[in-house]
Symmetry: C2
Subunit: 441 residues, 2 copies
């Protein structure tokens, strides 16, 4: 009798969507996890012969796929979910969000709001996210407790207050976060100027210098609305993308969120600089910002990933829904149903997200040696029956609520839709009590 190798976890009886280069799908498949990494992937029968597991997780014929990567969020804004809807971005920001943020956003808000958002993400298949908000120390703490893979960055807005003081304070916070998480493999720190219309040229450049010195990603909202495009054009004589290119902050470590209003030259610049894009279709639709030209970006070979934006403008963080919107919005706005095919869209939410965050060697697909970040979906539900094409079902039929189990870095953080790493009830209670204060203020 052969001696079987003892491993930590085997997920078996799965349809394994690898999202590797050749899009391999393994039916009656298993994924073997040892510590934080994928040790093997194969047919149940072969895996069974080679390994015995401390723990077996039966996918019962469901889909196992890489955890989803949400490249643009504002976690704590979940506490403002539904507070002000059906308004244009500028009015929504200046009359509702900015005043509410000034009044209510503090450490407690950030901690519980982040935890609320993390709960929602864990329950809908996201395993990695990139956040931009304030009091990010608390967002980091919440992420650590959740066991999620997070990119955390302190949002910088320089229009209100002394520019040098703001820069000093934000860099101080960022340096503290870097120090705190330098040995944490799950949490990465990023540099996040809010946009070219809320940050001065000087701040934009200095933050890029800091990012380069520390080898950090530089995340920015870019070309989100026609107003932004027109205002920048009026002020600087060039488009938002051209402006950022002129001041030399665009490169392969820049991740630009939205990118709705792009002219052909803008797209060419994004391609040349190898800028990564976070497409946020639901937020862009709800705020009536427009539709990013993702078909054209695909054609040029620009890496387009997917983001939910914050819950105040979407209003949820379900990446399955975001995939569906990405596909359908691209089709209807070009009147071309062959744009943004299901398989391409699944890549946007997985491997492209990994590329956007510079993590394509670690996450975004199920391959040997990669981090064990994966989710199990229950396909034994009427809205997922029958199956002719798994990609189609993931994009057009599934929702976050079909995710049964989630594993991040080899650790089960969601099992049978129960969060294993923190107390969800407490998070909901605290969130409701903070909202009560906001409502009665």
């Amino acid at each position: 009798m052969n001696k079987k190798k003892l491993v930590d976890i085997i997920v078996n009886n799965a349809v394994v969507l690898t999202i590797n280069e050749s899009d391999d799908i393994i039916k009656d498949g298993s994924v073997v996890i040892q510590a934080d990494r994928i040790l093997d992937i194969g047919k149940n029968i072969d895996i069974n012969e080679k390994y015995q597991a401390k723990r077996k997780i039966n996918a019962r014929g469901g889909v196992v796929m890489p955890g989803l990567v949400n490249t643009h969020t504002h976690l704590a804004m979940s506490l403002f979910r539904g507070m002000a809807d059906d308004l244009p971005l500028d009015k929504w920001l200046s009359e509702h969000l900015f005043p509410a943020e000034k009044k209510f956003v503090d450490e407690e808000f950030s901690y519980w709001g982040s935890k609320l958002a993390l709960s929602e993400m864990m329950l809908s298949g996201t395993t990695t996210f990139c956040d931009m908000y304030f009091f990010e120390k608390e967002a980091g703490q919440a992420t650590k407790e959740a066991g999620m893979r997070g990119f955390i960055g302190e949002g910088v807005v320089s229009e209100f207050g002394d520019e040098d003081e703001i820069f000093y304070n934000k860099i101080k916070l960022t340096a503290e976060l870097l120090e705190k998480y330098k040995k944490n493999t799950l949490i990465s720190i990023v540099v996040e100027p809010h946009s070219c219309y809320t940050c001065s040229k000087k701040i934009l450049i200095k933050l890029k210098e800091y990012a380069k010195e520390n080898n950090l990603l530089y995340i920015i909202h870019l070309a989100e609305t026609k107003k932004e495009f027109d205002d920048v054009k009026k002020k600087f004589g060039v488009s938002p993308v051209e402006y950022l290119d002129k001041i030399k902050v665009l490169d392969e470590k820049t991740l630009a969120a939205h990118c709705v209003w792009l002219n052909d030259n803008d797209i060419e610049i994004l391609r040349q600089r190898n800028v990564k894009v976070s497409h946020c279709p639901k937020s862009n639709m709800k705020l009536a910002s427009g539709a990013a030209p993702i078909g054209k970006l695909f054609e040029k070979g620009v890496v387009v990933s997917l983001g939910t934006d914050g819950s105040a403008s979407n209003n949820n963080l379900d990446m399955f829904s975001e995939m569906d919107y990405a596909a359908k919005l691209a089709k209807v706005t070009t009147l071309n149903p062959e744009v943004a095919k299901a398989k391409e869209v699944v890549r946007m939410a997985t491997i492209n997200g990994a590329k956007a965050l510079g993590m394509e060697n670690e996450i975004g697909s199920l391959e040997l040696g990669k981090k064990a970040d994966l989710i199990i979906l229950d396909f034994n539900k009427p809205h997922l029956v029958p199956v002719y094409d798994y990609y189609s079902h993931l994009v057009y039929c599934a929702s976050g609520s079909d995710v049964e189990t989630s594993i991040i870095n080899g650790k089960v953080i969601l099992e049978n839709r129960k969060i294993k790493t923190f107390n969800l009830e407490e998070t909901i209670e605290k969130s409701n009590s903070i909202a009560e204060k906001i409502k009665t203020a």
Copy 2:
């Protein structure tokens, strides 16, 4: 001690969204059901004093609202879900759907396909639907077993075959359905020519005459694609809406699905004739058909309801998702975030659906004396926390999977997400086995 009146069901501890004329919301509320109707609605404390119930259903602080009304479906097409995606409507129909229908659609297909679709609808909050497909006797049987409220009609296409023979056969089937369900309060029969491009003028007119004689709704696909608009214009010199108006088939008992390609005169005709519209945003987006001008239709006072279309072109039947798409598509295509506000969209999926089907005195809102068709949503989930605005959450955050319990005509057909009226496992098994035959053909 007062004598309390004994009633069948009390749903208590709910946030009751009535969707009545004044949009009343009753917190800490209860709904009292006696036989098939709503007997009373009020605060828990008042209802408790007046009634005792054979059965109490605790909504645990969740939302209770009218069951959703899906005014355009092709039930059995769920068995083709995901078989052919990312294609334009004409290619999808002529190269994939029509050949597959010819080959595979029969009594068994219609029965199990309908049951599969009904399962999905029951699990996502729909209580009333309007179906157009073939072998509708089987769809009717499935509907009867499910306990849903359904409008069933045999789809008529006259382009393949002898016109008179087709008319004779379809009227025969319709007459049989009318006879079979004449005493059934849940199932209504309707007349359904597929469209003005698949039915001859003669058939369109004769079907309208039959509908009038029998006081039945007349359901038709209308102005779905630019191709249809252009072809009809070329052939008849007028738009599709103008053509149907010219042959006098448009009136208050006509329900037109899609209505994407409308000129101003078309909209004026729809208003004048009091035609009801079934807006199908997800199908229109996926097939890249375009965006119906629902803001303009609202302004004119046209009744716009919501439909999912069939699962082969959407690809699911979740009316909560359909609401979200309706709101967001209208905003992004007009670049106006104030179009299709959450509250309006909830009305589209409830009372407007009832109006579209001529049932506004019976369903579509929770009011005394109306039929007891209602759903209970669990709001104790992170993606629905906190709540500032219930309408916003229903449109922008909720999904069909938040529906816990569903009551139709006073009967509990879904409880804690379990279907009470038929065997779901069997339906899934049979659906999978039919799909296997299709795959291997």
